[in-house]
């Protein structure tokens, strides 16, 4: 399941719902992204996440479907927020439930890497020097590249 929303989410309730009533689940891997107040040396007051409504949702659904193809998942959940967020606030939740912990971990990390590099979100960071759009980092692209299938058959949605 995917959700793109402005509001915060209830981590405990979301994780519990993921495996509720499904006793085939042996482990749930979760990632929660949080707004840091340090990017390099400059303190950040807050940031605003812009997204592309419609394309964001369809890309998240496709990424989630790909994770379910590649790993034996019982359930998965992606929640991504947009709008203005203060340091310490949650940005994203990715959770994957599987019979086996290895599958849950790998699928969760795969989804987080994709979100960071492919999902249409843009970060405007506020600092003492003013507001500035964050530039894409090479290290994020490299983290996502680890997951590329040799065939590249499923990467037709990526222009870079």
């Amino acid at each position: 399941m995917i959700r793109v929303q402005q509001d915060d989410f209830d981590v405990g309730a979301e994780i519990a719902a993921l495996s509720a009533g499904n006793h085939a689940v042996g482990g749930v891997a979760v990632f929660i992204g949080v707004v840091r107040d340090l990017a390099g040396a400059a303190a950040i007051g807050a940031m605003t996440l812009e997204h592309y409504p419609g394309m964001t949702e369809s890309m998240l659904e496709r990424i989630e479907a790909e994770a379910k193809d590649r790993w034996p998942l019982e359930a998965s959940l992606i929640i991504h927020r947009y709008g203005r967020l203060e340091p310490g606030e949650r940005i994203v939740l990715v959770a994957t439930a599987s019979a086996h912990r290895q599958a849950a971990f790998e699928a969760c990390e795969f989804l987080v890497d994709w979100l960071k590099t492919k999902a249409p979100f843009w970060k405007l960071e506020e600092s003492a020097a003013g507001a500035k759009w964050v530039e894409a980092r090479v290290s994020d692209d490299q983290a996502a590249a680890r997951w590329h299938a040799p065939s590249g058959a499923r990467d037709s949605d990526a222009a870079e």
Binding site: H51, S58, T117, K118, A119, W122, A136, A158
Partner: protein, 83 residues
């Protein structure tokens, strides 16, 4: 054709979205970008470095040679930095 601008592309063009009717010889993404560059200083600035630009046609990532037509939704944005 509907155009959408995100992040600093929106700041530089000064608009979030617009309806445009490019000349009939504009048939690909690359041709559309070249035409947009001629529409004024804001556009020229926003589109100065095409390597820093990503394009989606009807909400799918597109390459320079991909076709664009009058009914399409074309979005211009920088590389994503989400999450």
């Amino acid at each position: 054709m509907k155009l959408l601008y995100f992040a600093w592309l929106k700041t530089k063009t000064g608009i979030a979205e617009e309806e445009v009717t490019p000349p009939p010889e504009v048939a690909t993404v690359a041709e559309l970008l070249a035409w947009l560059q001629t529409r004024g200083p804001g556009y020229a600035d926003a589109l100065a470095d095409l390597s820093a630009l990503r394009v989606a046609v009807n909400q799918e990532y597109a390459k320079p040679g991909d076709p664009v037509g009058s009914g399409d939704e074309v979005a211009l944005f920088p590389p994503v930095t989400g999450g």
